[in-house]
Structures are given as C-alpha cells and as structure tokens.
C-alpha cells in the first residue's frame, strides 16, 4: 500500500477556508480550538454527552468532539463565532441576552448552535420542537426554561429595538440583562481552558485508580529520556512549600501529590509536564509505578466500626467533625406528643457536573506566581498557592477566568496548586484541563447522608420535638466536611418552631472522593428527612400538609433551635399563603385525573426550607470599591466571582443605585486579586447579601465624597455627560481621583457546645409545590409542574432570581430522581445522569419580598435556597400519589417500584 501524498486537510469554518496541520482523525473540536483559535466551541466531555461542543456541519448539528477532522473536510462548518453574521443568529443571541437564557454561559454556544439548526428549518418553533432540537445539550445552571423561552422568541428579535438600560436610580428591582452577558453569546468569553499563552507547557496528572493503596515511584529518568517532549515529572518531593491544602487554615490534609499512600480513586500520584503531543502519547503503564492495593473503607459505617484503620492519624476514629444542636428535652417532649413519626433515609454522592471541567494556567513572573483558573474563591486560592509554594501572600496573584459553573465544587482548589508548582519550577507557563472522567473522579461531591429522625406534634398539629442523627460520608479529605457537619444541625428543624431539639451530624472519613460544598452544604439531604416527617405528622393529625406547615412556620419574633430570635424578614408564612390557591387547584386537578383509575397516579407535594445566608457563626466579610478618575467613568472594583449566578450584574445594580448613576456608566474590574479587595468566596448564597451590602456602602461612600466636593445636598442628582460628571446639572471637575470603599461582615456569634448562638445574620425562606404523576407499573415519575415561592428579601434583579430558582429546581430534580455518583462506575455524563431539557417541567415562580434590614435594599440570597425544597416536594408528591415512602435517594425507577405499597 502506497502512502498518499502529504496534504493538509482543509476546513471551511464560518465561510473562511483554512488549511489545518492536524491528524485527519483529530477531533474537530480540538482543531477548531487549538489550531484555529476558535475557542467559542466548548468542551465538557469529549464523549458526545454534554453537547457543549455542538457546531453545525453542513447545516446539521453535530458534537464537534465526535467528528474526525477528515469528515468535516469539504463541508461548511458553522460555529458560534459565525452566528452574529446571520440575522437569525443575531436575533437568537439577543433573545438569550434579554431573557436571561445564559448563566455561566458554558453550555450557551452549544445551545445556540442546536437552536440555530432548528430555527433555520422552523423559524417559529413550538416547545416540543425546541426540546427535541436541544435535547442533546446539557445545561447545569438554568433549568432550561429560559432557554426554551428564548429560542421560541428568537424570531421576535429579528427587528426588535435594543433594550433600554435602566436609568440612574432605577437599576435595583429591574430585569436588567446581564452586564457580562454578550461575551457568553458570541464565543469571546474566556474560561479556564481558553486563554493560556501559546508557549505554555501542559500538565497531565497521574491519578490513583485505587481507592486505597500504597505505591512506590521508581526512577523517572528513563521515561523522560524516552519521550523528548516530556520535560519533567513532578512528585511530592518537588513541592517547594507545604504538600497539603484544605479549606480550613488548620486542616491542610489533602496532599498536592500523595506521599506513598492514596486514599481515594482519583488521588494525585504525580504529574507529567511537557508538550501536549508528548504527554498524550504516554501510557500510564509506562511509568515506574508499583501498587500495593489495600482494602478500602467504602462505607461510613465501616469507617466508624471498632478497629477500622484511620484514614488520617489525626482522626483516629475517622470522625472528622461532629455538629450538635441541643435545646430543651426532646426525648421527654416526644414521649408526651400526641403524634410521633420516625424514619431512616439514605442519599447518594451527587456530582456537581458543572459543564466546564477544571482548567487554568499559571506563569512565574520574577519572584511572583500568577494563576489564571476557573474558581469560586480567588482569595482562598491565593492562600493555597502561597502555602504550597512557601511564598508570602503578596507573591501570588490569582486571576479568575470566566467560570463555567461551580455550585460549590470550585471552592476547593483543583488545577491551581500543581500548575503553580510546575510553572514555578520550570519557569514556563503551564496549563491544564481535566478530562470529564478525571474531573468526576477527583473533584468533591455532595455528601451521601444516612439520616435517622423522629419528630412529634400535639393534637393541634404544633410541632413539639425533633431528634435527628446524620452520618455524612465526607470521603478521604476534610474539604468542607466540617462546614456541612456544622450547618446541618442548625438547619435540621427546617423553618419551623420546634421547641425541643436534639440534633447531631457527623462527618465521617472514608476512602471515597472528598465530599465538599455543594449548593446547600448538607441541608438538602436533611430537608428530605424533615419534610417527610412533617407529611406523616400532618396526616396523623388530620391536617392538610400545607396548613400544617403554615401553623408551624417560623415568623418574625420566633426563636430557632439555636436560640436565635428571628427579628425580621421571615417570609415563610407569606410564601405558603401565596401558594395556597395553587395548592388547592393542583390537588383538585390531581384528584380529577386519578378518578379515571389506571397505572398513572397523580399527586401533589409540598416542602419548605430555610437557609442561613453566609458562613455558620463565623466572620465572612466582603470589601467593595468604587472609584472615579478625573474625567473618567466610575469604576467598580468587584472581587466577587460570578459563576453564572449573576453577582457581576446584581452588585453593579446595587452600587449604581447607591451612587446615583446608571449601571451602564460603569467600568468593571473583576476578580483579580491584584486589583480587587477580598469579597470572600462565592458560596453560602452570600454575595448578594454580604457583598451587596458592601457594594451599597461603597457606592454611598463615593456619593458622599462627590457631594462633599460639589457642596451639594443629599438629594443631588448625578449624571455623566460626555465623560464629565454633572451634579444637579453643574459639571464637577476633579483634580484627584475619588473613591468609596464599603465593607460588610454579617453579625453572627459562634455556636457553643450545644449549638446555641446566632449562626447567621439572616435566612432565606421558601416553599415549593411539585405536581406529578407516577407510572406505578414502571416506577417512572412524570413531573408536571413546580410552583416555587421564595422570600428573597428584595429581588434586586427578578430575571436573575428566577434563573437561580429554575436552575436550583433542576438540580433538585436531579438529586431526587436520577443522580447517583458511584466511584469508578459513573465517571461520565452518560452513566451519571443529570436532567436534560425534557426533564424540567413548567416552573411558576412567586417572589415574596419581606425586606431584610441588614441587606442591600432589603435583599438576602437565593443561590442555594432554590434547590433545597425541590427533592422533598417531589417525594411528598410521590407519596401523595401512591403512598410510597421514598427513603433511598435518588428515587430511581426500580426504587420507586420497590417502595410502592403492595
């Protein structure tokens, strides 16, 4: 066979021809990104599962990660970068922007391309057509509803005039489109994998395939010699500073590179650094790596058993932390209760499944290190990088890239420490991107929980007592385990008055992936147990399930199980009242549907939640800054990372109204630790409340400075005209820059040994209704509708709040019905299932605004509250429909069938 003459494959992308020097079986996705620089096409799995890489090949949607370069030759390829040139493409992008269809934006290029294929054939599609066309693209942020809306509305934007931005003073409360929205729609946004310098080397981790094993590494010199592009192999011996990281300042238990012992499948053994092609060619079995596999502790009960080997010498009983809340005498109160209900529940590991895998790059500049990565917590990254390099904090700069979803999973460092070490030692930029399998194996998860609980009420349905015991599988390293163990008991009563409480949660170490922070920090698991008990008590007391919750709802003036008196902004009763008419109507519909008989049984469920905003009984300040240069625009220095939830927009709205200039007048400086102050992490639903208050203070401080300089009164109107600041119509010429700084730390007190104290300054409240049908022959749930009422204090941006609620509900649906991470078995997005566009039903959102005096313009948080009540509401509805008590989560079809009463 004769070799054909060498010939460069030719590609036609967005109407331009390119000759590409890449192997013919290279994935089209990598060719577009790495050879043509078209990084708008995103990668989330390289397996066809996520659809982020969707492009049009000859007009038809295709996953670019599954198309060999050679098969794309000679046909037109259209990517997100080419969309704006088409009128319908531009209209679609405008619809996404105006209707809030992009949050983190990582799935957006794929969504847009899939939608474009549809719109070219059907300019005014119906909902079913949109679902069928977009069914192959996963979104983890939005809950899909706004995406459907935007695709259906795209044709209206063909001629629609551009939206008018809110005027000065009118930003708060408006449905302003995302301030950072457009780059997510035209493919120019730069995520962790999109921006490394061209000469960067690559880092490829070598991870343990075993859950527990000892290993030895031999001489690497022959390997390096055999592969000229391999520059170096990094091991524990190469770590310049402390070979450990972790969330808590006193618990740095997770090694960057393991020291002869691995504790979970995915633990780091060593890392290869070199040219991409060279690294890609190295088989793991070429490494001088020998294993002695040990039996793993694969269950928290095994880890708690007498004689179980300790994961770490520091915790000989494998109990990482115990959280406790004790008030009154629960046992006695239960004995005296008219009705008592009890049960046991077990939940599974849940994977964050952000569509953007961990990625970033680092470079050494003199004696400083710079790390650019996808993160939720730049200042925490800074501390970790300084720690592992043994450098002072001033020597580290963290520049967050755009973040393609976090949900808590990007609070822990991933690529950051090892990239920093590699770039530091090699004095070259070094980049890395985890594969989906690697991301899933190595990253933190939601804690699987085993909960037993008992609760009682009196004859009138008033709750008397709760006993709660939670065992949370915290995996191999501490991560956020202590936070979860602390937060759960404080929330275990749910948003209700329960006078007698004995509640304990333990985080137990096992040879599982580290469990960390995931939207709700353990509270969603606890809510499943607590809400199931309330349903049973309501039935026992003969009280409607909604009314039972209304009777017991915490109201302003009530005291919680931690002894805190809630003084303001407790809108649960208002949420339930708002839901009442929908509850009645949906129950009537279900009854009618059930009257006909048949295997499909209809049911309606309800659940409530509360959620403490910010850290539990710990300081968590934020600092924001607004500056004004002479002759310039105001600049908002905002260190809070927007992971898609919208803080860049919301904080801007707040700062703008506080200052008194329109939001679109501002220049934004975001995230970079050299340029912005510490805003704290994007977690615990705290950015709107904590950083929002700081932003308000900063805006007000700058306003004061301006008014002082202009000698104007507090009601003065500010305006910008041709770059000149006008105060009450008169120009104010500055000779020096002005600045306003705001800092806020929510007032809390630490919890004592009995969990008494003021753990949070404010709480979000919510109630959700789920309406569904259960196929009682197959155990399949057909969700019909979710109605969500949330007390957010004040909706700074209702469009974004709805987006958070819809996205949280989608994750709640996944938690309830399909998501179960099994180490080594569901390490991809086809065995690990998250909801698709067809799995999220119609969502009705009702916003309750019971203002929080401490919050900016009355606002609290919404990020996590959205998810907490969904799963319990679904289980409540399944029970209503069929009598099945769901105690093993997720409620997979076979589990539902087993739970059906016979």
């Amino acid at each position: 066979m004769n070799a054909p003459p060498p010939r460069l494959p030719k590609l036609t992308v967005n109407g331009c021809d390119h000759a590409v020097a890449a192997p013919p079986d290279a994935r089209l996705s990598t060719v577009l990104r790495d050879r043509l620089g078209l990084t708008g096409t995103k990668l989330g799995c390289d397996a066809g599962d996520c659809g982020a890489c969707t492009v049009l090949v000859d007009g038809a949607q295709a996953c670019a990660c599954l198309v060999p370069l050679a098969q794309a030759e000679g046909v037109a390829v259209l990517t997100v970068e080419g969309l704006a040139a088409l009128p319908m493409g531009m209209a679609l992008q405008s619809a996404f922007q105006a209707l809030g269809a992009a949050q983190c934006g990582y799935c957006t290029p794929g969504m847009l391309m899939a939608a474009m294929a549809l719109l070219q054939a059907v300019p005014r599609p119906d909902e079913a057509q949109v679902m069928a066309a977009l069914g192959g693209v996963l979104c983890r942020c939005t809950g899909y509803r706004k995406i459907i809306e935007a695709v259906m509305a795209a044709h209206r934007f063909l001629e629609a005039p551009a939206a008018v931005p809110p005027a000065a003073g009118a930003a708060v409360g408006s449905r302003m489109a995302r301030a950072d929205g457009w780059p997510k729609l035209d493919g120019t946004e730069r995520y962790g994998a999109d921006s490394a310098p061209a000469d960067a080397l690559w880092l490829r981790p070598i991870r343990s395939p075993h859950a527990r094993a000892r290993f030895t590494l031999g001489d690497m010199a022959p390997l390096v010699a055999r592969h000229p592009g391999l520059h170096r192999v990094l091991t524990a011996a190469d770590v310049p500073g402390r070979n450990g990281y972790g969330i808590y300042p006193d618990i740095k238990d997770q090694p960057v590179f393991a020291e002869g012992l691995v504790r979970y499948r995915g633990d780091m053994v060593c890392a290869l650094v070199g040219e991409r092609e060279a690294l890609d060619a190295i088989r793991t079995d070429e490494l001088p790596l020998t294993w002695e596999v040990l039996p793993p502790l694969a269950d928290p009960l095994a880890a708690l058993a007498e004689g179980a080997p300790p994961l770490h010498q520091r915790w000989l009983d494998n109990v990482l932390t115990t959280g406790r809340v004790v008030q009154g005498d629960a046992a006695a109160a239960l004995a005296a209760s008219a009705h008592v209900a009890e049960g046991a529940w077990q939940t599974s590991f849940v994977e964050h499944a952000y569509i953007e895998p961990e990625a970033g790059w680092a470079q050494r500049i003199g004696d400083r290190i710079e790390v650019h990565a996808s993160t939720q917590a730049p200042y925490m990254d800074l501390e970790e990088v300084a720690g592992v390099l043994g450098l002072p904090h001033e020597s580290v700069r963290i520049v967050p890239t755009a973040c393609g979803g976090g949900f808590g999973g990007k609070l822990d460092v991933a690529v950051q420490p090892m990239l920093a070490i590699a770039a530091w030692l090699l004095r070259r930029p070094v980049r890395a991107t985890w594969s989906r399998a690697e991301s899933m194996a190595s990253s933190t998860k939601r804690h699987p929980a085993r909960i037993t609980a008992r609760a009682g009420c009196d004859a009138e349905g008033r709750l008397t007592a709760l006993e709660f015991e939670g065992i949370y599988d915290t995996g191999a390293y501490a991560s956020w385990g202590p936070t979860v163990a602390g937060r759960v008991p404080a929330h275990s009563t749910g948003p209700y008055r329960v006078p007698h409480v004995r509640s304990r949660a333990r985080a137990v170490l096992t040879n599982h992936p580290p469990s960390g922070a995931f939207r709700g920090f353990g509270v969603p698991q606890a809510a499943i147990a607590q809400e199931a008990l309330w349903d049973r008590l309501a039935d026992a007391a003969g009280i409607d399930r909604l009314e039972f919750r209304h009777i017991n709802a915490l109201r302003a003036g009530d005291s919680t199980a931690t002894g805190q008196v809630i003084t303001h902004s407790a809108g649960l009763a208002a949420c339930l009242e708002a839901l009442r008419p929908r509850w009645t109507a949906l129950r009537a519909e279900a009854a009618t549907a059930n009257a006909g008989g048949g295997p499909l049984r209809h049911g309606v469920g309800i659940a409530c939640m509360w959620y403490g905003i910010g850290n539990t009984g710990m300081s968590n300040p934020s600092t924001m800054r607004v500056t004004l240069e002479p002759g310039g625009r105001p600049t908002f220095h905002n260190g809070a990372v927007d992971i898609g939830q919208g803080s860049t927009t919301v904080l801007l709205q707040i700062a703008a109204d506080a200052l008194g200039l329109p939001a679109n007048a501002f220049a934004l400086v975001l995230g970079d630790t050299d340029l912005t102050a510490d805003a704290g992490k994007t977690s615990a639903s705290r950015q709107t409340f904590v950083s929002g208050r700081a932003a308000m203070e900063a805006g007000l401080a700058l306003r004061d400075a301006i008014l002082l300089r202009a000698n104007a009164g507090p009601e003065a109107r500010l305006a910008l005209a041709d770059g000149v600041l006008m105060v009450d119509g008169r120009p104010l010429h500055l000779d020096t820059p002005l600045e306003g700084t705001g800092r806020f730390d929510p007032p809390t007190t630490p919890l004592d040994a009995n969990g008494q104290g003021v753990p949070y300054a404010t709480y979000g409240f919510a109630a959700q209704i789920a309406a569904l049908a259960v196929d009682t022959e197959l155990g399949i749930v057909h969700l019909q509708r979710i109605v969500a009422a949330h007390d957010v204090g004040r909706a700074i941006n209702p469009l974004l709040v709805e987006g958070q609620i819809e996205g949280g509900i989608a994750q709640g649906i996944g938690l309830a019905l399909m998501e179960e991470y099994l180490p080594g078995r569901t390490e991809n997005l086809h065995d690990y299932l998250i909801p698709t566009i067809g799995d999220v039903p119609v969502i009705e959102t009702i916003l309750i605004e019971d203002p929080e005096p401490l919050g900016p313009y009355g606002a609290k948080g919404i990020g996590e509250p959205a998810l907490v009540p969904t799963a319990p509401a679904i289980f409540s509805a399944i029970r209503d429909a069929t009598g099945a008590e769901i105690t093993r989560v997720p409620a997979l079809p076979h589990r539902i069938l087993e739970a059906l009463p016979r």
């Binding site: 192997p23 994935r27 066809g48 659809g51 996953c63 098969q71 192959g136 190295i282 299932l833 698709t836």
Partner: protein, 290 residues
C-alpha cells in the same frame, strides 16, 4: 497501513484491510469510538491503532428497495432513517431512530455502527431482530450474509472477521399492513441509554395475527426474540394479544443489576413495556409517531 485512511470505494477499503499488518480501527460515525477513546485516555490507556474510516465508501451509501427486501447501506445514519418514507413495518426502527442519543448523535451515527458495536442496550437491535434482518459482510474473500442474531455473538462481540466490513443491513419485506412499534425505557427524557426496550412487528391475515415477531433488549447480552410468545399469538386477534402475555414468556431473559436498574426491575419492566406495546398495536391504524 498509514495511521488514517478514508477510501472512497469498497474495493480499496477491503484491500487496505486485507493488507493491514494489524487490524485497524473501523470508523463510521465515531459516536461509539470517540467516547471509548476518551474513557481510555482518561486513565492513560492510549489508542494507537491505525484508523480505517468507512464514511466515504460509495457503495454503502443510501437505502434501496431490492425487490423482496430493503437494503440499508452501512453509511445510513439514524437521522436518515428517521426521515425516510419507509413502509410501516419499519415503524419500530424509525421510532428507535428518534430516541437514540440527541439530534447530534442521530445526525452522524450509523445504524450499522450501532449493530457492530454490539452493546446489549443498542436500540437498533430489537427492531431489526423483529424484522429478521440480516447483515451483509464483505471481504476480499467475498460477501456473506448473516442473520443479525448470529452476527451478534455476545456483549460487545460479533462474528465480524478481521478482514471484513459490514456493508449493509438487509430487511425482508413484511406483509402489507404490518404493524410495528418500539418502547424504550430510560431514567431521563433525552440522551439516555435504555434500561429496557421492546420491539414488535405484527402481520395480520383476515383479522388475525399471522405472524408476530417480538424482541426485548437490555435484558440479556444480546437482545432476544420471544419465540414462545410469538407462537402463542399466532391466530389471535390483536385485541386479544396483550392478555396472552405472561411472565414465563420472558423466562429466557437474563437481566443483570447495574447502575441503571436491578435485574428484577428489568424483568418486570420488560413485561409492562411489552403489554403496553401490544395494546398500542391493537389500536387500528395508529402508526408509530416518528
């Protein structure tokens, strides 16, 4: 063979294959191969075999009516099947075509690739088993036809010889007016691998079932035809068919516990799906929505 070849004729492809020192990887739509590659590479197992891309071979494009059977070329994608004006006995296969992966996968993945990949959960297999389809295999030694049930040798195993390429699926015509349907059960709406699926093709003569062909997938290493049930249904009316079904008709299934479901659930769900399928096919003149 060079690392990658994409021949345009079958003869060239067969020659490359016959002369290759080691068997190359045969590539069609790539929707099974590339994910498998990603999974292996994630744990450091690199694929280094040369690739023989079959997607440009002229002879295997398109579908045609060959008198007593329909010939579906190896390059035919799920999307093409979904859109094709095929006779009603293809309704089960067409329904499967709308449920495989998402639009991206349907646009590029081939039916023949689905068969050659030989997954126990391959959605193409039950409908084709119920049609008594055969697969055509070509090599420089000649061409042979194997019934699909013989071609599929087990979980991810086929009777394909190292020098062979599958060139087509051959589907014998069924009686005019035959009814066919497909049921797929998964744990979410789109992009889901089947927990169980069932397919049926029913031919009628004078208001009675002349021939029923019924298969169940994802409950055994290779999807199975239910011969006992088929025999019992002969001579009945379609309306009587659902009530005939009993658990022992599914005795030959050997479902397993896996991440998607338990074995006992699969067995039970298979029976429910089949009963619903037979009930649906009993309703006259309702063609499977494509």
């Amino acid at each position: 063979m060079a690392a990658y070849r994409r021949p345009e004729s079958l003869a060239e492809a067969l020659a490359l294959l016959a002369e290759a020192p080691a068997p190359p990887l045969l590539l069609a739509g790539g929707t099974d191969l590339y994910p498998a590659r990603a999974a292996a590479e994630a744990w450091g197992r690199m694929e280094s075999r040369p690739v023989l891309d079959l997607s440009a071979i002229r002879e295997t494009a398109g579908m045609s009516d060959a008198g007593d059977h329909t010939r579906i070329g190896a390059r035919v994608t799920w999307a093409a099947l979904r859109e094709a004006p095929l006779p009603p006995w293809f309704d089960a296969l067409r329904s499967a075509a709308t449920r495989v992966g998402g639009a991206q996968v349907q646009n590029r993945a081939t039916l023949v690739g689905n068969l050659c990949n030989a997954s126990p959960a391959a959605d193409g297999v039950p409908p084709l088993l119920a049609l008594d389809a055969a697969i055509e295999l070509a090599s420089r030694r000649g061409t042979r036809r194997l019934p699909l049930g013989e071609f599929l040798a087990g979980n991810r195993r086929t009777a394909l010889a190292p020098d062979e390429i599958a060139t087509a699926v051959l589907v014998p015509h069924a009686a005019p007016g035959a009814r066919a349907g497909f049921e797929k059960l998964g744990a979410r709406s789109y992009l889901v691998i089947s927990i169980v699926m069932a397919a049926a093709v029913i031919e009628l003569a004078e208001g009675r079932i002349a021939r029923a062909r019924i298969s169940v997938g994802a409950c055994s290493p290779v999807a199975l035809r239910l011969a006992g049930l088929e025999t019992e249904l002969r001579g009945m009316t379609v309306a009587e068919a659902p009530a005939v079904l009993r658990a022992d008709h599914l005795a030959a299934l050997s479902p397993i516990d896996d991440v998607r479901a338990t074995a006992s659930y699969r067995r039970q769900a298979a029976q429910v799906l089949l009963r619903r399928l037979l009930t649906r096919l009993a309703a006259p003149a309702i063609r499977e929505a494509a």
